[in-house]
Symmetry: C2
């Protein structure tokens, strides 16, 4: 799926949720799409400043927060970064693998494992965040 298609789908997804992919939000999403793997907020801020001259941290953080809420991005806590979600429509219960060294992103289906985890946690009165789980490690290249 190329960026244009993705953005169109994203726009539709948002309006179905009763909210809007405004200009700024769309532009931030585009900027994230242009990068491979993990991107940081201040990188996006810099990109945004190149394109529109003015921009402050809150502008970027608001847009990123919105996109995460809509499921279009995932936040990668371990790296203070963000990655594009390419399955925002299908409620995927996959685990997202992020290489701590190069930022490369992979995905592995682990629905059953996750279900077991949720069940075990629920047994302790603990509700696991509905967020998609992001796991860090090393990719093949960076392990070598």
């Amino acid at each position: 799926m190329d960026s244009a298609t993705y953005l169109a789908a994203a726009e539709q997804h948002c309006s179905q949720q009763g909210c809007k992919l405004t200009a700024v939000r769309r532009q931030v999403l585009e900027l994230v799409l242009r990068h491979q793997g993990v991107v940081k907020a201040y990188q996006i801020l810099a990109d945004l400043q190149k394109e529109r001259g003015l921009a402050a941290p809150p502008t970027v953080y608001r847009a990123l927060d919105f996109l995460v809420e809509q499921g279009l991005l995932h936040r990668v806590d371990a790296l203070n970064g963000f990655i594009v979600c390419r399955h925002f429509e299908c409620r995927h219960e996959g685990l997202i693998l992020v290489c701590e060294t190069c930022g490369q992103v992979g995905e592995v289906d682990a629905g059953s494992c996750l279900a077991a985890l949720r069940a075990a946690s629920a047994g302790m009165g603990f509700t696991v965040n509905p967020q998609n789980l992001v796991i860090t490690g090393q990719c093949k290249e960076c392990t070598a």
Copy 2:
């Protein structure tokens, strides 16, 4: 296990690894132990300053890094915080549950789930960090 016992065990654990639980490191560990659940670096810094007057961020971060390396603490990326590990001797493969709201910590045994996760990831040429997985969510009280 009370703090004194824990600290003694921690000290022994370190020397078995060929390193030392020095005064500063021990003091930082004590300060983390005094809190319930997740503690932040700058909280520890403040505590430390109360006790010894002087202290700068690197002092705290060095000690925390050391303690994480030794397996005495876990870092909670989602909260920029740290929690005490009470199983540093037994190589536990549990999942650690942290309440995002109140910082309360629980633990659930999910060794088999984790093994499956590692296997699936390895299939994609991805090595999951040996770190203990820390999952965030909501505890019973905070869900209500």
